[in-house]
Amino acid sequence: MANQLLAPSIGSQVGCFGHPGLDPLIERVRHEALTVPTAYATGYGEYQSGGWDTLSLLNHSGDPRDVTIGDVDPVPTTLLREMPATAELIRTLGLQVWWARLALMKPGTFLWEHRDYTEPGVSGTERHRIHVPLVTSGSAFLITGGHAVHMGDGRIWRLNPVHVHGACNMAGPARLHLILDCHDSRELERLRSVEELPGEYIRALPEATPEELDRYVREAGRLTRLGFAQQAERHLLRVYFSHALPYAGWAYDMIADIYASQGDAESAAHWRARKTRTLGGA
């Protein structure tokens, strides 16, 4: 089933293509990614539950532990110098890559609902993100537009991350992807011309009913009253991963409302500001 059977908005946000001829090289990349890197770096703390760590392969400084992305003239990091097959794959794909990294997502990890490319200096021209799955998990999904997309291995995935999205690895094993941030280019256009979104990788999330939404908010309020504020926040943030929600940022608003209703104006303001930072004008 190709992407014409799915909502066009999803097809424009995410798609994949096969990589005939690249399998042996990707197998070597997988071997390198599993054996060369040591300590991963944690960045983007506000965007995640903890458990999503990265190491840069191409960045501005050459230090793999500089992981806050920006649109730069990239140089290979010391890590990429130890990973010749990975460097070869990046070259072979022929894309205009401005940042490359390995991303490890441990079991039980969530990258909360957010938009990307909001970093200073990353705006304006069209950009896309390429995912090359190296190790995947059956419970790892990209969530966007009310759909869960499993980025299965054996394919290269493109994502337009300026749209609201999230990612999770609910139950493991750990997911490991090579991620390339790149400009739009003729080569990318060529790849996109054969892009598809097969039905086996995507499922629509059930729409949350008003009663279900009320129940989640009540449960979170109860957790907060019992002294489990952080778990209440997570309880609501996770609804994005199981249900299609009425609007972007619903969980952020509900968390702020709960704090406001309990007289905690500071926490309410924090969550409203966080919504603006992570979702921008969504």
Partner: protein, 288 residues
Amino acid sequence: MTADMLAEIAEANRPEQFTIMDTATGLLSASPAVSHLMVRGSFADGTSDRLSDIDLVVGVREPDYPDFTASQDALIRAAFCQMLPGWLDTIVPPFGGAGWVHLIQHQGTLYQLDLYVAPSGRIHEIQARTRGRIIYTTPQAGEPDASDAERAESFARSMLDAQPTAASLITELLVLAHMIHKRLARGQRFMAYKEAYQFTDAARGLARTGLAPRTEYLRWYHLEETLGETPLGKECLALLRELTDLPAVPDGTTLPRMLDIVLRLAALAGPDALTELQPGIDACLSLI
């Protein structure tokens, strides 16, 4: 010097269950609703091994008991890598509260976190019965109001009296499979027998719940007549026959067959629940 180095080595080899216990106690003791935390079972007895489950009894102030028990699953899901919803424990003895078994993944291994939520006033009695070790008490813990205590225990009884659902039975099957796997690793033949029987009984419960929820017959009575009227029911009966034909004491080759049969049964008797739980089931199967 030698003692320090040995202590360092011991710390480096500390069983991971202590990390889970640390997280759980840090989490739970932050709540004003929690009056006591008690470790029971093999960790309290000093007989644990690296497969042992973590048995925690949580004493909850009586006025907060209903809210706390209703929240415990969301709490564990938010704090740990919970594979499946907590299973309401029907194996634990009645202590005046209710217990849940949570399968959680930690450092690539599946662990069982048993959380028994008891009204505060029951804690010392539970301690005496289980030889548990209280690891946390709030200074303010006092005698509960009698009506709050009755309300709390009545709430616990109502949870235990609730009819199992297809989802809870599928979860029970995975929990039991994990337990059987542990028994086999330890060579505990009789416990493996007991849990394998319970596994088969839960499979029977799943077939009844999914296909004949309103039958007046209990357990195994008139199962053929109740289920055998439709092709779907006949298929479920055939799977139950396949399951009951397996050796009563499972071994390393029997357990995968048991799981295969019950997952086929779940696809027939509880397809929606199976779909909902599938990612967690797949992850559990990769770890059992």
